[in-house]
């Protein structure tokens, strides 16, 4: 018997904490707009996201997500998967808030920057809890609109504006396609809440005017396809990945880290939820819409395109951007493998990969932020010999790169290994091809990741460098990310348990 009964909506506390922090930053800036206390603003942003992180971790340890709270008539749900992904989003937000303190030194609009970051984080956390196509779309837009502005926030910088424009144009197009897909699904089933859609598809409930779902299964299939298109944009997967390299290259580096880690994870959480809750594969095969085929193709094409394009890049940030597309392909295996008996294991592996990716990829982009802060240049050759000047940051970057490639001692190896074992365990020929593609692509990715490691440690610097500064914020964020990438290995037991429980609750 608890001393105080909390109301149901208290389960949303981590999301509310992020939203409240964004508004508090606005108020603080509104009191005296002329005087910008950068330390206070960055501290508030980091503190708010750490608070949200603490709440989310506490909730998942206390078992709030088991069996899961349905709020507002099933529009939002706080279950284990939601808390798991709120943790990912809050971690990345905290890391980039700390790093932005040094990176955005010269920028005129500090409060707006941090507010937009936290509003986007609120949207991503809401995406994790959304349980109806309405809330999913609103949360998606809440995450996207601040992101467009954040990418283009360096208003005098042509690269940033170009990146913002491209991101916005493709984002607007894909959200229009997504919402049209939603309208077709609504037409076929008469519902927008995910569970209610599943009931209609399984034939347990009638769609609105008493017609059978079979009359509309063509429309439903088209709607599902368009929804996949909208999700591919958010997760930077083929065919809507074109924006990613441009947006990540032009955006301020902490924002690139934010978009490629947190935003991608949030895109995947709605993909996982839509396709397990609303369109369970057994029922969908029954009416002739087998969406795992689409995800098998998308996973293979995405990882291949991402890795091959990354291998040809000379610009480090662009290489990381394409590698981020490749990693979206790895995470898509989670959906491609849902058809078999091993479905929940593959899904859990994809969730683990997204968590580990949240640390290692954010860290790698923050090292690029550090390099931009030093002004050393953008290509591989410009990074030559940085290790002799900044050994600690270079060790951290080496950890990130080897973990991204999937070298054994680091977290990235284990999540990729689980994906591989899971994909083989599903047992279908298509999934064996996917598993083979995963191995081939990981081997290829080692080439371009180790090229950067070689530049850092072995190559001689092309120009003589003065001593490099040590900006506290970026260093702290990089070191934390590196430590987490390493220690997540002994900690993998609890992480794996949390992910497996979340996936099992979803698939069952």
């Amino acid at each position: 018997m608890a001393l105080v009964e909390l109301p149901d909506w208290a389960a949303l506390a981590p999301v509310l904490a992020l939203a409240a922090t964004a508004l508090v930053i606005f108020v603080v800036d509104g009191i005296d707009p002329r005087r910008t206390d950068r330390q206070l603003l960055a501290g508030l942003a980091a503190g708010g996201s750490l608070f949200a992180l603490a709440l989310a971790v506490w909730f998942s340890l206390a078992g709030v997500g088991d069996p899961g709270f349905e709020l507002f008539g099933g529009q939002l749900v706080v279950d284990e998967m939601a808390l798991f992904f709120v943790v990912v989003v809050a971690v990345v937000t905290a890391l980039i808030s700390i790093a932005s303190y040094d990176y955005m030194t010269e920028h005129a609009y500090q409060a707006e920057y941090y507010s937009l970051v936290l509003l986007a984080a609120t949207g991503m956390a809401t995406m994790a809890t959304a349980n109806s196509l309405v809330t999913i779309f609103i949360a998606l837009e809440l995450a996207s609109l601040p992101s467009y502005a954040l990418v283009a926030i360096l208003k005098e910088n042509r690269g940033s504006v170009e990146a913002g424009l491209k991101y916005f144009l493709i984002g607007a197009l894909s959200s229009a396609i997504f919402v049209y897909g939603v309208s077709l699904i609504y037409g076929a089933t008469g519902h927008l809440q995910l569970g209610a859609i599943a009931d209609v598809i399984a034939g347990e409930a009638e769609a609105g005017a008493g017609h059978a779902i079979a009359e509309f299964d063509g429309m439903l299939g088209l709607g599902v396809l368009m929804v996949i298109g909208g999700l591919a944009f958010k997760t930077a997967s083929v065919p809507f990945h074109f924006w990613a390299p441009d947006a990540y290259e032009g955006a301020p580096a902490p924002i690139s880290a934010f978009l490629s880690s947190a935003s991608k994870a949030a895109g995947f959480v709605i993909a996982f939820r839509i396709f397990t809750e609303a369109f369970p594969i057994d029922a969908m095969v029954g009416i002739g819409v087998d969406w795992t085929v689409a995800f098998v193709v998308l996973a293979i094409v995405t990882m291949t395109v991402g890795n091959f394009a990354a291998a040809t890049q000379e610009n480090v940030k662009r290489m990381l951007a394409y590698s981020s597309v490749g990693h979206a392909g790895y995470a898509l295996i989670g959906l491609a493998g849902l058809s078999g008996a091993n479905g929940e294991f593959v899904l859990a592996a994809a969730m683990m990969h997204l968590l580990v990716y949240g640390f290692m990829n954010t860290g790698a982009f923050l090292f690029v932020a550090l390099a931009e802060h030093w002004g050393v240049g953008r290509t591989f050759a410009d990074y030559n010999g940085l290790a002799s000047r900044a050994p600690m940051a270079s060790v951290a970057m080496t950890v990130f790169l080897f973990s991204l490639a999937g070298i054994p001692p680091f977290g990235g190896f284990f999540s990729k290994y689980f994906l591989f074992v899971g994909a083989i365990g599903v047992g279908s020929t298509a999934m064996l091809v996917v598993a083979a593609a995963l191995v081939v692509n990981s081997a290829l990715s080692l080439y371009y990741y180790s090229r950067l490691v070689k530049a850092l440690w072995i190559e001689e610097p092309t120009i003589e460098r003065a001593t490099l500064t040590k900006p506290t914020g970026i260093y702290a964020a990089i070191v934390v990310a590196a430590v987490m990438t390493v220690v997540i290995l002994p900690g993998f037991g609890p992480v794996a348990d949390a992910a497996t429980a979340a996936a099992a609750a979803l698939v069952a």
Binding site: A149, F168, A172, G190, G208, G250
Partner: protein
């Protein structure tokens, strides 16, 4: 006498395709925004027609949300187009092309 639902779907598909055509062929950023707006409103036609057909108001409520979000999207988009014009002296979406492959 009500109009059969098929006609509404045909209308919305036509509007959606016109919007998509505009997105793919227009180079002016403002025309691009208008085309996206057409695509969003095609979804609204569907939502409202099907809300009437199914006899529940879920679709109508969602259409209201979509309109509000479309307005917000245009606001952010116009801001980006404004900084685009300041930097490039043009609103042609093919002009900024420093980054490719």
């Amino acid at each position: 006498m009500t109009v059969p639902i098929e006609y509404y779907v045909l209308l919305s598909m036509a509007v959606f395709c016109i919007g998509l055509f505009g997105v793919l062929t227009r180079r002016n950023a403002l025309m691009f925004l208008m085309s996206v707006e057409l695509m969003l409103n095609a979804a609204n036609i569907n939502l409202i027609a099907f809300a009437f057909y199914h006899g529940n108001v879920t679709g109508q409520v969602f259409a209201l949300f979509t309109m509000a979000l479309a307005a917000a999207e245009v606001a952010v988009g116009l801001g980006i187009i404004l900084v685009l014009y300041r930097n490039f002296r043009d609103v042609d979406v093919t002009v900024p092309s420093a980054m490719r492959w």
